[in-house]
Subunit: 208 residues, 4 copies
DNA sequence: CATGAATGAGTATTCATTCAT
DNA sequence: GATGAATGAATACTCATTCAT
């Protein structure tokens, strides 16, 4: 929620020139992350790729960490947008239907930019300010929990916290792993994975 | 499966002196990883911590990557030992019982050295030779799949590959996340998590 | 004697707005020098502290050196004012009395802004235009020499140049060192130091 | 007396190869200080001048400050050696003779390497670990004070602390300023300055 | 085999200064 | 005049790795 001061952009960048520079830097960072990996993403290289001087980079970002954090934030926002949209759609639908839709949304989300997602997941050290990555997880957890609350009558005597943890963690891991490491599971009909994963979750939620 | 040549120890280390040096180095690496993090784990520092000259380090390991890989391998072996032992115990037991035991084993495994586990999970870039981390996942997958084969009669018309993927991925994520990020879920009786996770899995497996 | 062109303010600053800007900049420089030290006194920081844009800073000063030079000049002028006033007072008094008064004035001068004096003395590299620091020394030398001329009858067969050099250099060093490094010598009665220093000088001047 | 840890050489450098490297670095630092000034004495330049890799520089010194501190220390030691030798010679001589000899020694000391002395005096910021420069002053003070103690019978009712402060500070300033800024005072017979300075001091010491 | 001195490419970061708006 | 975004040369420092002893 609150990013540490060292990852906060240094300027408001409200003017259009600044805005363009900042955007160019964040985009360049993402591009380099994908193309060269985290370790080779030096500030000098990022500035060059952005077509911006190294001085300007430091005018707007306190360091490499902040740049990567910006990319991470933007990516997580994009993912959450997909999830949020799906949740809005299924607000009134029964869990059996909702779960299906949510799993599909999770896969869709992970497919927004799988290459970036992979680098972000595999190479970014979860340390310092970058540890805020689980933000995505936390947000999804919160959203799904409130969905469950709205559907409490369909559920057994479940601890909602625990149930949300179980479902969100599982589905996130399944879709992430499938997209990143088992793309074979997604060939042809994605339906197989959606089917199984939603069955996993609905079976669990309709408990005694 | 087979680690790349650049991560293989350079010598067989059959003599006891060599063996001791290698062990000292791997242990020093693990200690530094936990204490200082991956980024500060320089080869010089590792050698010093191990009480070995930097020259000797390179006599036995081709580089930093190989050292970390060795730590990773050792840690994964330790985890798998726990899982394997559990699987041996429940070979004859029905799935309802087996799943419980396996979830418990997964938690137990993640608790062997949570600090090291965390560093390994959060700070080691999954790149180059270090990408072999999913080894653990793969091994667990294989083992669990053959357990399912032995219990096919208890299962519905499931695709075993998919089923193993679903179960192993979910349980791994749940136990990992619980141990690393939600230690609150493990206070007092671990049983709650074990209960829920095994219900998730057994519900799924006793399918259509 | 004549400051190099690159340390001359760029504008006459006759208008009141300009004047205010220049003053703000010089004062900001002095404040930052004292608070953060010479090395951290960047032009951008000075401009910010002065509440002026960096562009305006360069409108009035050709660079950092000129700003520091201005501070230096102002400080030296302040010191010399004290000395000059003392000399005016003792113009007619015999050397024994005058020396006392002058030593007291020197201490008083060094106490105007000891913090700034210290930074100026310890951190400003005597290079380029900043080498003009000895200006103070030169002015004091000149003034004291003419005082001696006016009192030649009280003196022996002294070389006035040499005598002025000896006296001014010694008293400057004694008062400077006392104020900066031996504040213990000034506690309570400053009189002890004044007494000794003026005895040093008068003893020397009343030579054969 | 106790240099801060960040200026302590990193290794003992007892082996001859190390010793040579360290010496080369310190000498290169002194040479660059004189030739290019403090601000242009970058670590990379020093290493190059020393014919040593930048890595080796950091193997033995924690940074630029430590290098300069080493030069400073060596220079101060050289100065003090001259002073100490003079003091040993005049241990038994009366003050009138001793003072003369000491002033001569002070001039001699300042002439060991006037160029380096100037840079050290004018460009080195007295900040951080480099503030220890007054070490020279302190040592000289201590030595001279004990000389005065041994000759107390020749002195009036002087406060030895104050007397040592007055004499050492004055003579240091006079010889320093003469050598650095008034070389004209030293042309031909140095005797004039020696004569005057020692008269200044002896006159003061043979007090009330 | 062991040692540890030496290497140097590579990285993050600062800051005086310019100039288009 | 005033502004502040942009510049980029320069700097300190790290660390994996080699190799002569």
């Amino acid at each position: 929620m609150s990013s540490s001061p060292s990852t906060m952009p240094r300027k408001k960048a409200s003017q259009s020139r600044s805005r363009a520079t900042v955007d160019a830097l964040v985009e360049a960072t993402a591009r380099i992350l994908v193309r060269d990996g985290f370790d080779r993403a030096s500030t000098n290289r990022i500035a060059e790729e952005a077509g911006v001087s190294i001085g300007s980079l430091y005018q707007y970002f306190p360091g490499k960490e902040a740049l990567v954090a910006a990319v991470l934030q933007r990516h997580n926002r994009d993912l959450m947008d997909v999830v949020r949209r799906a949740l809005a759609e299924i607000a009134g639908a029964p869990i059996a239907v909702g779960a299906r839709r949510l799993v599909a949304a999770a896969i869709e989300a992970h497919r927004i930019d799988p290459q970036l997602h992979r680098v972000l997941a595999e190479q970014i050290p979860r340390i310092g300010a970058l540890a805020e990555v689980e933000l995505f997880h936390r947000d999804a957890y919160r959203l799904f929990r409130s969905y469950l609350e709205d559907h409490r009558d369909e559920l057994g005597a479940l601890d909602l916290d625990m149930a949300a943890f179980i479902c969100v963690t599982s589905v996130e891991a399944l879709t992430h792993t499938a997209v990143i490491h088992r793309s074979d599971l997604l060939t042809g009909a994605v339906t197989a994975l959606i089917e199984e994963a939603s069955r996993l979750v609905t079976g669990y939620l309709r408990a005694p």
